[in-house]
Symmetry: C2
Subunit: 85 residues, 2 copies
């Protein structure tokens, strides 16, 4: 509270780990085939989150975003995440 | 069929348009507040798709990915998309 905080923007990309089945991607691929797009080999789906937040400095900002990604945005059992600030 | 096709990788990022409510983002922000993370100002959620496909050249590849994004991956009424090859 005594320090001034700055606003940071981060993007967290969450994707299924290699080897984890992606039913959404499979369904989309099949639908594209039905629509006549037969050249599609694979589709993997993922999520991203654009986070705006206050932090004292860049190091703290990265720490915060990694924490909330690990605890809430991603499921570490089946998902990987990547943070960009 | 007569031309040789190459494999391309594209990523399509789909996000809600500005002004469209994002209940998932709002819920995550509230949950983070409950967990003690009070510095979060806003969270917007989005999806991405990693697409592997065959195409004759880069121009055709871009055209294909834009088509399937517009027709299937995104809902143009409420979502914008961005393609990276």
């Amino acid at each position: 509270m005594s320090k001034e905080k700055k606003s940071y923007q981060a993007t967290v990309y969450v994707r299924l780990k290699e080897g984890v089945l992606d039913p959404q991607g499979t369904t989309i691929k099949r639908a594209l085939g039905d629509m006549g797009y037969n050249g599609v080999e694979e589709i993997r789906s993922g999520k991203f989150f654009e986070v705006s937040f206050l932090s004292a400095n860049r190091k703290e900002a990265l720490k915060l975003v990694n924490q909330i990604s690990d605890k809430l945005l991603a499921n570490p059992v089946i998902e990987d995440f990547k943070v960009e600030i």
